[in-house]
Chain length 191, copies 2
């Protein structure tokens, strides 16, 4: 069994409504040793793709992006969820619906940090409906940047995001794919 699956079984908590709480190691408290292992796995998968940037969206994607970027020795760029007064000049923008918070967020990325010369690895801690990832893909399209692959810590395989991205031809590499959860806490992984 893979390391991310083991960790989900040990520390993840299933809640009603298909919620998988992993806030003790992934998105509130962060086990950086685990994310370092995730970054290494992404590097082993995508090392030959000529990647120039690791791209993610704030906030919880930043941790896994940074620990991945160390292996590739390239910068992280993270899309911001609202227009900051300190972000000036030309911006790529995309509207992303968050089902978690039930709001539309405009994510923005400064044009100077993503161009048609970039080959990017998109990473995030979670993939469920895939809306955040589609926002990043939209921004890559605006920039003319190539998408070399997508690295995900935990994919909810029973939601449509991963399937839709794979159908669109993206190379989605998820360290754990949860295919089913029951209210009494049983978790089934895809292999």
């Amino acid at each position: 069994m893979e390391f991310m699956e083991q960790r989900i079984l040990r520390d993840g908590q299933v809640r009603p409504g298909n919620i998988l709480k992993v806030d003790s190691f992934l998105n509130h408290q962060i086990d950086c040793r685990l994310l370092d292992e995730a970054g290494k796995a992404f590097y082993e998968k995508f090392r030959d793709r000529g990647i120039t940037k690791i791209l993610t969206v704030e906030a919880s994607g930043i941790a896994i992006a940074c620990l991945t970027a160390r292996y590739f020795d390239v910068p992280v760029v993270f899309a911001k969820k609202s227009k900051s007064l300190n972000l000036d000049g030309d911006l790529y923008t995309s509207v992303v619906h968050s089902f978690t918070h039930n709001v539309d967020n405009t994510v923005v990325l400064s044009k100077k940090f993503l161009t048609d010369k970039d080959k990017v690895l998109l990473v995030d801690d979670f993939l469920a409906n895939g809306k955040a990832m589609e926002g990043l893909i939209d921004i890559c399209g605006q920039a003319g940047a190539q998408i070399a692959g997508i690295g995900i810590a935990i994919e909810k395989g029973f939601q449509c995001g991963g399937q839709r991205l794979r159908d669109a031809g993206y190379d989605v590499f998820s360290l754990a794919i949860v295919d089913a959860m029951t209210d009494d806490g049983q978790i089934t992984f895809r292999h």
Copy 2:
């Protein structure tokens, strides 16, 4: 000259209104090799303090927190800027004013990730007015957690945050302290 000062001089941009833009390496695009060096410097300074957690606030503090935590081999916990539907149970909360965005944010932290057994290192990318740091200190007070030190990448020494924290007895270690900036881009560091 220290590495963070060198990087500010090379890639930072001074804008009217005492704005120092470091978005090419610190808080939009992130140079993880630089932040790794920052984490190492924090570790050398605070390694003997018995630190159990690295505490920061989303979003841009997460990167430096993670690359610091690797050296200490302890978890990161980051305070979140609003109440997420996925955050349940008991929360510490504190209201933080953001001068950058001119809004009050409520930052929250799950009680299960910070207790009176913790000795924490607070880290952030920027220290200016110190409002975010005061929110984290407030939360540590609620938890009964000890604050072993504060690590900052860039302090704006001409704003009051650092002085107020030092006057209150905190051990604030900033990798670069900017004492003055002129509109034509001259930067004076404190030594």
